[in-house]
């Protein structure tokens, strides 16, 4: 009887063990789009509280027809934006997606994203886990402010 209860509890808890989110997205926001611009980007700090490296491989949102992972690299004086296949969040560490660096790029937007709106975004990880986030749309200086506080 007792064994059965334990087995049952174990069975019930198993899905939770799998669903445990080792990766947490902090200070997430999407760039409010200036007039004429046709793209936006999502920025966040991804914290990995687990003991294994985790890898972000894709993201999607109904607000954009296409979503890509991108990085900005500086080669000499020239800034280059390039698509990357994945973004690794090392175990017990974090990766900052921010303007001028790694970011989630949004293309084919249904409409111009304006400050105050919220979009939903789903992140997909290499282990098959998916995570859905509510992403507020902010102007970059406002989105960055929260990060500044975290550093002081």
């Amino acid at each position: 009887m007792k064994l059965k209860a334990i087995a049952l509890a174990g069975l019930l808890l198993t899905p939770f063990a799998h669903a445990k989110n080792d990766v947490m997205a902090h200070d997430v926001y999407a760039r409010a789009m200036p007039p004429s611009s046709v793209t936006s980007a999502v920025f966040t700090t991804l914290m990995n509280h687990g003991d294994k490296d985790r890898t972000l491989v894709a993201a999607e949102t109904s607000a954009a027809g296409k979503v890509e992972l991108h990085d900005v690299i500086k080669e000499g004086d020239v800034m280059k934006m390039r698509q990357v296949q994945e973004i690794t969040i090392p175990a017990n560490s974090n990766v900052v997606l921010k303007p001028g660096s790694l970011h989630i790029m949004l293309f084919d937007l249904e409409k111009r994203l304006e400050e105050g709106e919220t979009i939903e975004m789903t992140l997909s990880f290499a282990n098959g886990e998916k995570q859905t986030l509510e992403v507020p749309v902010k102007k970059v200086m406002k989105g960055m402010k929260k990060m500044d506080h975290a550093h002081h």
């Binding site: 760039r31 200036p34 007039p35 004429s36 611009s37 046709v38 793209t39 980007a41 296409k66 890509e68 991108h70 900005v72 500086k74 004086d77 020239v78 800034m79 280059k80 934006m81 390039r82 698509q83 921010k98 303007p99 001028g100 660096s101 970011h103 790029m105 293309f107 084919d108 102007k139 970059v140 200086m141």
Partner: protein
């Protein structure tokens, strides 16, 4: 006799060479002055397509110029956000000595008013300007701006413009005072704003 001939030949050659060098230098100098003259007279277009003479000497403010394009996915909007952030951190007196501007290097897609609206979105002080490439290219080259089109295979972007990202601080006549490299915080701009406005009396 043959010695004299040689001497005459040498002298003639030297004379000819000297004259040629002199003429070349003159025409080069003239070309340079023409170029400088053209830059001094640079006319771009801004709000509602209105012509703006950016090096008009009667305006004594320090020009703070950023070259970019409105379709720029990350680097330009980030830079203009930093410029706006920095402008919000200085006082009115310092602001009155600065003339920040955004100059589009993608006139095909950025009409004058589109550039204006784009710049205004970041800060009401930033003038947005555009002009045909034959006007903006020599200007950008003068300060060492790099812009090149790169095909991006497999990406939705298809192509992008790889470019350098500096804020150029210019005297009213276009002479470079200093330049601030691409930054992800407003701090270096705030510092430059303070130093150029305190130097300018």
């Amino acid at each position: 006799m043959s010695k004299n001939w040689s001497l005459i030949l040498v002298v003639a050659f030297a004379l000819g060479f000297g004259v040629k060098t002199y003429i070349d230098e003159q025409s080069n100098a003239q070309k340079t002055t023409e170029k400088e003259q053209a830059i001094a007279n640079t006319t771009l277009f801004g709000e509602a397509g209105k012509a703006v003479s950016i090096f008009d000497g009667s305006d004594t403010r320090v020009r703070v110029v950023y070259f970019g394009f409105t379709r720029c996915p990350d680097v330009c909007p980030t830079s203009l956000a930093m410029m706006a952030g920095a402008l919000n951190q200085i006082d009115d007196e310092q602001k009155s000595k600065l003339r920040p501007m955004f100059i589009s290097l993608d006139p095909e897609r950025d009409a004058a008013n589109a550039s204006f609206e784009y710049a205004q979105y970041f800060h009401p002080m930033i003038e947005g300007l555009s002009a045909p490439l034959e006007v903006t290219k020599p200007l950008a080259h003068k300060y060492g701006v790099i812009f090149r089109k790169t095909e991006l295979e497999g990406s939705e972007l298809e192509y992008t413009l790889d470019h350098s990202s500096y804020f150029y601080f210019l005297k009213p006549d276009g002479t470079l005072i200093t330049k601030v490299p691409h930054t992800l915080t407003p701090a270096p701009l705030v510092e430059a704003f303070k130093s150029v406005t305190s130097a300018q009396e």
